[in-house]
Amino acid sequence: MSRVRVLVGTRKGAFVLESDGKRQKWDVSGPHFGGWEVYHLKGSPADPNRLYASQSSGWFGQIIQRSNDGGKTWEAVGNTFAYDGVPGTHQWYDGTPHPWEFKRVWHLEPSLTDPDTVYAGVEDAALFRTTDGGQNWSEMPGLRGHGSGPRWQPGAGGLCLHTLLLDPSNAKRMFIAISAAGAFRTDDGGTTWLPINRGLKSEGIPNEEAEVGHCVHRIAMHRSRPSVLFMQKHWDVMRSDNAGDSWTEVSGNLPTDFGFPIDVHAHEPDTIYVVPIKSDSEHYPPDGRLRVYRSRTGGNEWEALTNGLPQSNCYVNVLRDAMSVDSLDKCGIYFGTSGGQVYGSADAGDTWSAIVRDLPPVVSVEAQTLDR
């Protein structure tokens, strides 16, 4: 019988939640790396017991941890993230040039085919890669070398490369997103990059439709249809049907189109999920009601999913990497909150229950579907 493992990164450590395919009873282990911020953990699609974790601290910097046994034991691997060549400058909040400085790894994306190859999205925004299981990391400099780099500016959370999508149908194609620069695509394995922000409109920048400067919060795709992308922007939910060449807004009837995560059903490429948040200064759900919204039409028409979620006095946030789906039938969906709850649904969002309620603030959630 298949099993599910949910990897949870929090402000004070990592937790591993495991269940059988019914997804009713869960075993919880952790905290791993207690006291450290764990921005992200993710397993290799090619070897699900090979996990990688980004462990960091305001005191002691960045550590990368690797597990070969599904999170039971861990070993620290390489943690040198040195920018290629002379790092140069990006824009600071006040518009002045600011030197690129490594702060932390936001997102780890293991290769679809090789457990030893992993991509890392970091702050200040850059893309790194290891091909030896995390011992050595090298920058893929073509991204920062794109001519727009000096114009990138940090969002409130920093200048972070937070989203990495690998195209399962084209090993040379990859998508990334940076707050607050926007989305980019490579079609040559990372040598060169193209900003893919046409159609985005952002009121907070001088030119609302600029080539770069947009605060993209998250992008998502279905592996069967990798040229269709969905985006939760600072404001606006967007869709692209041409691999990011152009975007159209699909916020439709959402109560607010601000939010952080967006994800796609494992078996229905046009079923997508967001968690509307009241505003960019009020990082909590509208009306104190925690609602996941589901569209079965690839956007525009949304329904609120509330069964099992708190519908009064709820003022938590759900961060950009804190939602994930499993690939069982029915599709499971999971998300974590700033209040330390991890909610799960074993029926594609129709009903929800809390797997755990009292973790530290949740930063990331990744679900793995295991054969046994």
Binding site: G35, S57, W59, F60, G61, Q62, I63, A76, T80, F81
Partner: protein, 98 residues
Amino acid sequence: MIRVALPAHLRNLASVDGEVVVDVAGSVTQRTVLDALEARYPVLSGTIRDHVTLKRRPFVRFFACGQDLSHEPLDALLPEDVVGGKEPYLIVGAMAGG
């Protein structure tokens, strides 16, 4: 033998209990002690000082013999009591944040 006291999180990371000791050949300075510490416990590289710049992390402090050495030159000799093993060289996580 130089005694080095690490903060709890770095002891956990290095899988050690209590103080550690390192051998330093030649002059005993903050730089040579940190070099020896990172050579013996590679997992600590980058956690006390930046990999690239080798600057002390802002929320890490260095104490010895009741003195704050955090802003002293890295190549200045450490106190005799540290060199002689009477006192430890203290690496401290600053009381900051949460």
